[in-house]
């Protein structure tokens, strides 16, 4: 990054800005409520889980509504990034076939657009903190780091699905099944301490999303922080990012031929 000239900086800034802008425009081009929808979805999920788990299954979790909101927002960000990633290359065939440019930026733009959604959702968490009377704490300073690391994780997955989908359109179905299974196998609607010890190593220690959800909850709700979780989350994110990027760069030469 140091080798970039002022003009290159300006160029990449403009490119990312315009591509992200395009993502957002296309997403909401014929929707009246726009951004509101992407908030409404996790909120309605939260409401349904709240009723089902709190009043029917009688789960014993303190501040369960806040617990759900934090988990679902973090998960939704991940799931939406991957789903949007499937179309990042596919829906830009016209551009890819005519001009040679760093296609990676198409995926980056999708990831940034989903990140903006998450930021907006995150603001609503403040309202809940106010209701529950939970003050911010010193660990909040880790939140930007968590967001950067999860963006890298999302980007890795998105690189992978964006390039594979070009050759294998059914990928979208696999993604849906994968996300559905992954959601219930990740401690989002239930707490980690309900998971039997021998399963914890798979469901928590080996699962970057479980770690991210747990870290956000520790910071926001409980005012604690687990550095081992953070280290593991960073490790998985970087590995998945590098793998996704590698797959993308191996396949990108064929995009213009296949689209």
């Amino acid at each position: 990054m140091i080798g970039l000239t002022a003009r290159q900086w300006e160029y990449y800034r403009d490119l990312i800005f315009e591509l992200t802008n395009k993502e957002l425009k296309l997403k909401y081009k014929s929707s009246m409520l726009g951004f509101v929808w992407s908030l409404l979805l996790p909120f309605t999920h939260a409401l349904v889980y709240f009723v089902a788990f709190k009043y029917i299954l009688r789960i014993k979790v303190e501040n369960y509504a806040l617990f759900l909101i934090v988990g679902l927002f973090v998960w939704q960000w991940f799931a939406n990034s991957i789903l949007a990633g499937t179309g990042a290359v596919l829906s830009n065939g016209n551009l890819i076939k005519k001009t040679k440019f760093p296609y990676e930026f198409l995926v980056v733009a999708v990831i940034i657009s989903e990140w903006l959604h998450f930021i907006l959702a995150f603001v609503t968490i403040f309202i809940f903190l106010g209701i529950y009377g939970i003050p911010p704490n010193v660990y909040w300073m880790f939140i930007p780091l968590l967001m950067v690391m999860q963006s890298i994780l999302n980007l890795g997955f998105a690189f992978f699905v964006a390039s594979i989908t070009v050759f294998f359109r059914d990928m979208v179905w696999f993604i849906n099944i994968f996300l559905n299974m992954f959601f219930y196998l990740t401690p989002i609607i239930y707490p980690i301490d309900m998971i039997p010890d021998r399963l914890r190593i798979f469901i928590v220690d080996g699962n970057p999303m479980a770690l991210f959800v747990a870290l956000y909850r520790q910071i926001i709700i409980y005012g604690t922080f687990d550095y081992l979780y953070l280290a593991l989350a960073i490790l998985y994110s970087v590995v998945i990012f590098l793998f996704g990027w590698w797959v993308f760069s191996k396949l990108k030469w064929k995009f213009a031929e296949v689209l």
């Binding site: 003009r7 800005f17 395009k22 001009t99 040679k100 440019f101 294998f168 359109r169």
Partner: protein, 248 residues
């Protein structure tokens, strides 16, 4: 070949290109399951040799025409020069900035407006937003799209798309312009305008590779014309001698 040493800006050497038809191999999971026995045969059938041992050079400021029947491999050759696809064998060396491939249904996003597409295209070509905005009025004016510039591209006619595509390509200061049969869709007035613009660009030293169906159009502007047949170069004719000097 005129004795005078002109710089070579496009150098294509022993180029081979084969398409693998991926869609025949894995279109969907259903295909794989239902047609498994036939899949292997299909795999063998689905390789297609488009360009065979193609070599040529284009010099700076030259207008190089490519002719050939439908499916001869002209568009593929332009895509290789533009660098959007890669050859299997052989080399392509290009010096300078290339315009977007100008062909039917240019590289626009159908849901974005003409204005948004101009900005996006400029960026993908390597220009900053500021550089694009400096030329914006000129681009819109040349395209003669008027208020349609604020409408999404999907409602444009093919002639309108071609006009905008051509206008963006020529106004982004390319060193090399690749034009693939775009003029066929515009009306006579716009064709004339484009040809004039191309002559103007040639005089200012822009190199052009031009594919058209009209032999007359080709001869009116090209310095040399290459004919390809089923992916092989048949001939390279010199149409004009010392074109650069004649116009200077």
């Amino acid at each position: 070949m005129t004795g005078e040493q002109q710089e070579v800006v496009i150098e294509v050497k022993n180029l081979w290109k084969t398409y693998v038809l991926y869609h025949h191999i894995v279109t969907s999971f259903k295909e794989v399951v239902l047609h498994f026995p036939r899949l292997f045969r299909k795999l063998r059938q689905s390789r297609f040799e488009v360009l065979k041992d193609v070599s040529f050079e284009v010099k700076k400021g030259e207008v190089f025409g490519i002719m050939g029947h439908n499916g001869a491999g002209k568009s593929t050759l332009l895509a290789l020069i533009a660098g959007v696809i890669k050859p299997d064998k052989g080399t392509i060396k290009v010096r300078g900035r290339i315009s977007p491939l100008l062909e039917l249904g240019a590289g626009f996003h159908p849901e974005l407006t003409g204005r948004e597409n101009i900005i996006l295209n400029g960026l993908l070509l390597g220009m900053t937003k500021k550089e694009i905005m400096e030329r914006f009025e000129e681009i819109v004016e040349f395209s003669e799209l008027g208020h349609f510039i604020e409408e999404p591209i999907r409602i444009y006619s093919s002639g309108m798309v071609a006009r905008l595509g051509f206008s963006v390509a020529v106004h982004t200061n390319p060193d090399i312009l690749l034009v693939d049969e775009v003029l066929a869709v515009g009306d006579a007035h716009f064709q004339q305008k484009c040809l004039r613009k191309m002559q103007e660009l040639r005089d200012s030293g822009v190199t052009m590779v031009f594919v058209s169906h009209s032999r007359a159009q080709m001869e009116s502007i090209c310095d040399r014309i290459m004919t390809i047949d089923h992916g092989r170069v048949v001939s390279i004719e010199q149409i004009r001698k010392n074109a650069k000097k004649a116009t200077a």
